[in-house]
Structures are given as C-alpha cells and as structure tokens.
C-alpha cells in the first residue's frame, strides 16, 4: 500500500515547475565575490562536460545502430570500425525488412495494439468512473483487493493463464466431448489474437490512475448533471473524459508501447506467422549470410522497429514522461 503512496507523491512533485531552481541561483549571483564567480563558471563547465559526456554515451548505441545499418558487410567487419559510413547502403533496410518479414509483423502488432488499447480504455474508464463517482456496497473493499493484486509479480499469473488459454473455462474439452467445433474454437486461444489481447485488458494501475484523476473533478458537477437528467454515459463523455484527457492519452500511449514491446507472453502462446508480434519476429529472425551474422541488415531491421517509438516520443513526449513518472511501469 505504501508503495502507492509514494507513487502518488511522485506524481504531484513531478508536476511542479522546473524553472524555479535557477532563479535562486541568479539572485545569489550578486552576492558572490569574483573568486566565487570563477569557481561557479568552472563548476558549470564541469557540469556540462559531465552531462554531455554522459549524454553521448547514452546516445551512442542509437548512433551505432544507425551508422551500422547503412554500412556494407565488408565495412562493418573492418578491423578498425569506421565511425561514419564510407558509403551508404540503404538496401540493407530493404533486405532487413524482408529477412525479418517486418511487414506482416507490423500489421499483427498494430492490430493487437489498437484493439487492446481501445478495449482496455473502455474498461478502464467505466471502472474508474464507478470507483470515483458511484456509491455501492463493498466499494472500498473491492478497491483495496484490486490494489493488492498489484503486489504480485505477473509471472505468477502466467503459469495458470498458459493453461487457461488452451482450454478456456474447459470449453475446449467440452467441445471435443460434444463434437462441437465452435465450442472448441471458443476454448482454444493459442495462436489467435485473442490470447494476445484479452488477458491484459484490465490494468489495475490504470484504473487507479484514472480514478484519482476523476476524483479531482468536483462531485457537484455530477450531482447537478443528475438533476438535469443527464445520463452517466453522457456525463462521462461530455465532462469527465475531456477533463481527464491528458491521463487518458498517457494510458493510451503506454498501452500501445506495451504491445509494441511485448515479448514473453507472445513467445509462449503465439508463435505462428499470422499472429507473431514484432519483437518476437525481430529476435527470432535469422540474419545469417554465409555463416556470419549480417549485422548491417540486422541493425537496419532494429532501426525500423525502433522508429515508430521515436516518432511517438517526438510528438507526445510530454504525455509519455508524465505517464511514466506516475506509473513507473515500462509499457
């Protein structure tokens, strides 16, 4: 429970303005002596040197990925690697795309991402609404129970879910007994999109996050709306969702990123080409040419897979950083 408290605090603190740290420094500048001023400059130089060095180190893998992806195999294999490609081989991207069959993987992943995000949002919004606005028996106990499940590592669920999805509610066994193909297909989820979507539709954390956000909207608005005869759905749509929109966007992006980056569960349950997700396809792809890994093509494929994430980041940085600082979960 206390973990959540911490998260909550973090959320508020991140929202605080960033600029204030510097203003004080400026005020103090007047007081310092010339010597101190020199020290100050030196400190700033040191700070920038350190930060820029670290930033370069952090960036280096991306740089290496990009330059490697356009090198020829011969150039890549040079004893002393070149830090800038001698010539550009953009065909690596075509080959990498083909080798890893990224087209199909991309579509699979996009489908899973879109459907699971949409369904997940609907469930999250109505659940958060119920917790935030409605009064009913057992609400607090239920909410506490939900939060308690967050403590348990997901691997613990996986084992049983792995059984569940092969024989959902025993429907597969029943179907086989009754000779009903339909029942069997209802019970058999492996190598379907269902298995990639349904088990992860409910995220207790997102419900919690959105509930907190909804709570900040004054209850009077809801009561007034009720008196006017506005339905819950209309109120939700017209008032609450717009007010909590930033949070909803954060959730959407994180959920989409989750689909893009998921690896473990898909590897267990969806190995066929028609449902394989992009990360699994990329890791499983064989870039070997003449018994040597064709690193440039591999790097090109990696770059292609990384690109959408960067684009999302570029345009929606604010929401991602906000969401992340609150959630502390990757994707």
């Amino acid at each position: 429970m206390s973990e959540n408290k911490v998260i909550n605090q973090t959320a508020e603190k991140t929202a605080a303005p960033a600029a204030s740290a510097v203003t004080m420094a400026e005020r103090d500048m007047a007081k310092v002596t010339a010597k101190q001023r020199v020290v100050k400059v030196l400190v700033q130089v040191a700070l920038y040197t350190f930060l820029i060095t670290m930033a370069l180190i952090v960036l280096f893998p991306f740089y290496w990925m990009l330059i490697s992806s356009v090198k020829s195999l011969e150039e890549y294999n040079l004893a002393i690697p070149t830090l800038f490609p001698l010539e550009f081989h953009f065909e690596n991207y075509v080959e990498g795309f083909k080798t890893a069959q990224l087209g199909q993987l991309f579509l699979n992943t996009l489908y899973v991402g879109l459907v699971s995000t949409a369904l997940s949002l609907v469930i999250t919004v109505i659940s958060a609404f119920a917790f935030a606005r409605l009064e009913f028996k057992g609400k607090n106990a239920l909410f506490a129970a939900l939060l308690a499940t967050m403590m348990i590592p997901g691997e613990l669920f996986t084992i049983t879910n792995y059984q569940t999805i092969n024989n959902f509610l025993g429907l597969n066994t029943l179907g086989r007994k009754l000779g009903s193909d339909f029942l069997m297909s209802l019970g058999n989820w492996s190598n379907t999109y269902t298995v990639l979507i349904v088990p992860f539709l409910v995220s207790v954390f997102y419900i919690y996050l959105l509930k907190q956000n909804f709570m900040q909207i004054p209850n009077e608005l809801y009561l007034a709306a009720k008196v006017d005869g506005t339905t819950d759905i209309k109120y939700l749509w017209k008032v609450m969702i717009p007010l909590a929109f930033p949070t909803i966007i954060s959730i959407t992006i994180l959920k989409m990123m989750g689909a893009w980056n998921s690896y473990v569960w898909p590897r267990l349950v969806a190995n066929d080409d028609a449902h394989k997700l992009i990360t699994n396809g990329l890791r499983g792809a064989d870039f070997t040419v003449d018994n040597m890994i064709h690193y440039p093509r591999q790097m090109a494929a990696v770059a292609i897979v990384s690109l959408p994430l960067f684009l999302v980041f570029l345009f929606l940085r604010k929401y991602i950083m906000k969401g992340v600082s609150r959630s502390g979960i990757k994707g």
């Binding site: 109505i126 792995y162 024989n167 297909s185 492996s190 349904v198 539709l201």
Partner: protein
Amino acid sequence: MKKIVCILLLVAMIVPMCFAFTGCKKEDDGKLHIKFYHTMGENLRKVLNQYIKVFEALYPEYKIDHEQIGGYEDVRDQIATEITANKQPNIAYCYPDHVALYNLALAVKTLDGYIDSDEVITRADGTTEILGLTEEQKADFIQAYYEEGRQFGDGLMYTMPLSKSTEVLYYNKTYFDVAQKIYNSEIELDINGNPVYLTDDKGNFVLDGEGQKQTKPNPNKGNEMYNLFVPTTWDEMELICARIVAIENDRLPAATKAKADKVEEVVISETELHKIYVDKEGKKLAQVIPLGYDSESNWFITMCEQLGLPYTSAEGEHFLFNTEAHHEFVTKFREWYIKGYVTTQEIHGAYTSTLFTANTGTKSYMSIGSSAGATHQRPKKNAQDVYPFDVGIASIPQFNKENPKVISQGPSLCIFEASEEEMKASWLFVKFLCTTVEFQADFSRESGYVPVIKSVNTDPVYADFLANANGGDNVAALSVKVCLEQEEYYYTSPAFNGSAKARDEVGKLIQAVFKLSTTTADVPAEVRKLFNKAISECKYHAQ
C-alpha cells in the same frame, strides 16, 4: 439508463468478438480431416503435397491438413501444450524423446493393432489393401529403422520411420589424394599435386635438351607424414590428424616459420617426425584443425555404443554414463582437442562444415556430420565455376571394427489418440508415406535423407540418382549411398522421459571437459565433478 446498458452490452459483445477470430472454423466438406504437424521446408512440402493428392484420390473421404511448425522442438512444445487441452494433431513428425514426453499423458497410439490387422480396405479406385502391413512390406523396411518404433521399454510399436539419416565422415578427397601422390611421387609436387619445375635465378624454367621443363626430385617421397588415408578406426584417426597438422606445419611459408619462437618435435615412429611451430605466446602457427565433429551429443553416445559402454536405460536407473571408462574416453578426446586435432559445433560456434568448406583462415580436412547435410559440406564453386575440392564420404571411424556402430536419427511419425475413425485414417496415411516407393524416393532425393525401405532401389529415377553420385554436384547421392551400405551398423538409444535431457547433458559434458583449463592440476577429479553434475541435472529433469 438504457444507454448505459447498451454500452455495457456493447462491451460485452466486443470481448467475445475477439474470441470469434479464434476460429478459423473448418469448412464443412463432409470429409474427415486429419491434422499433420511436421518441420518440412518449402521444397519438401511440395513433394508431400504431391503425394497427399495421390492419397486423397485413393481415399476421397479423408482430407490431410498439414502444417509446418518451426523446428522439431517447436513441434514438440506445441503438441505437448495441445495435449493438455485435448487438441493435439492426428499425426506428427517425432523423435523418440518426444514420444516419451507425449506418453506422460498416454496420448500416443500404439500401432501393433494396425500393423497386425488383416482387415481389407477398398479404395476409391476399386483396388483393395489390408489395413495392416503385409509380410513383404515389413521385410522391406530397413530393420534397424523399423525397430526404432519399439524402443520405449514396453516392446510396443509407437512410431513408424519416415526418413532417416546418420553420421558420416566427410573428407577433403582432393587433399588426401594429393598427399598420397606426394608420398609416392618421384618428382616434387606442389600443394595441388602439380609438378614443381626447376627454375634459374631469374625465375625462368630450366629446360632439358628436348625443350622439356625439368622437374625436381621429391624430398617428401616416402615421408610417412604424407601418407594420408581415410581412417576407419579412432587410432587411425588420431594418426591422420597428427599427419595433417604436420603437413600444414611443413607447408608454412619460410617467413612464418622464422617467426616461430619454438619448434615442438613429435616423434611418431623412427621414420616419422613431426615439427610444430609455436609462437612466443604458445599459439600454434599453422591454422588447421584436421577434424570437426558437429554433434557433441552424438559423439558421446556413439562412443558409448562403439566401446560397449552403457549410456541410458528406459527401465530402472536411467542414467548410466558415469563410469571410469566414460571419463577415460572423454579425457582422451580432450587431449586431441588440446593438440588442436578436433573441434565441435558448439566449441567452434558454428557448424563445423564452415571449417571444412572454408577458403581462408583455419581449415579442417575432415568433418563428421549428418548424412542429410551433405550439400552443406560441399565447398562453394570458385570463380572458374568449379568446386575447389572434391568431397569424399565414408563411414565414421570405429573402436571395434568387428562390431561397427553408427547412430540412426531423423524423423519418425506417430499417431495420437483420437476417435477410432480418425486414428484409422491417420494410420492409412502414415503407412502410405512409409511404404510408397515413389514417395520415399522423391523425399530422399529432395531432402538428402535415407529412405526407410529397401525397394526404393527399384525406382528407376532413384537408381539413376544413386548411380550418378559424386563428390561435387551429386554429393547428396553419395552420402545416401554410403548410408545404405552401412545398414547393419545402426543403433538407437532408449527413449524415456528425460532421455532428451541426457542427450543435451552428454553433449555439454564433451564441451565442458574439452574446455577445462590446460592448467587444471587434477583433471580426473574435475572430470568426475562435471560428470556428477550432468547426472544430477538429468535426474532433476527425469523426476
């Protein structure tokens, strides 16, 4: 209020909608669908499709749905999972270990009932066959392959062989031939076996009175080092490895030899002295590893068989490969490894065929690998569109020539529990694949695997295929030919739950023992430790 309910209903409907795309529902064509999982690549699937058509013409009431599920392990994992949900396929490619796993759930159908059945079946073209196998059909199978179906400890038949492979010794025939030539020749020959001519100071050939180029006397005539032959025993193999290393040292350029810090001398016999050039870091200057052995696991198990040592047992104590004798042979081969005679796939980091076919860098001149991989042991054609060397293929070396042993591997087929009707249809199809001469012949030609029935030789196309065997374009045929000649040598290991783990572990043992640091003080103690660890690992997984 209605709207809320509507929305909720909508949600309730969307969720099942996801379920709905689960169902690539089979179209109801009134046929009995038989599901078959395998690992065949595109080319083999073509062959399979062709014969499925033939089968379905004979039995129009059946439809074979086949699917490639990645590699063997993918097939195994997927079926194991599907068994727990009662949705396993009807037929699958299998290795004995897989059958042992499936049988934890008693999911594999025993075939004895079908094999012995004399029920007469009428086919669509009006002809009949009996459900079981005729005596001729039984006799037609290569016995060792057929008996593999019974290796599960209870004497019952669980699998039918589809196509098989074994391990063979690939050797660089050109290299061996040239060495022999040098050993016997009166005149000096270069490394390609061509005469070396006398030249003057300016590099011009010295001509004799008749305008012929003058040859030089051969310094290596009778030099035992050059006496290379295809080894048939492991002792011979050790000698040949030593000789190849010596030849490569002998052929080092003078400049490289000059760089050597030390010259180690190895006395083989009175007439045979090998020189090994070593630099100051102790690194050997000649880039050669004479032998590559692809599968560490096969190596270990085959050595057990050849030496008459126990390996595993389906009954009682499963893991029997931890005796002094086992430690001894692995330690012996470790010495080979340290001397640079041999490497394996895992230690090398790639199939050892990459060393065998290499043009530059470290090279090997012998390679023990799957007979089905013959085309991978063939070097790439060079700029003149010829193979740089000819591949020779022979049986692997033995410890006891009187009782030779080679491993039998390759896929079998098993049938899973289902309705009587489905199992019967599955059996008919399995029988069709295993006993149809044309299919066996075509499949073998396409895959490089060995057919499981002897009568393929009556197939004219196949006979032609074998007749044209050579060490270049038709290297696959050469490999099949060698395999067919050693049909009496095959052995198989018992299959039980945990036998796959034993296979993995003995393979790792070879690697671990080979990789023991050369500075290890008490090698036998370390080896014992590694063996004990492997046994306990096996036991954990067999429980």
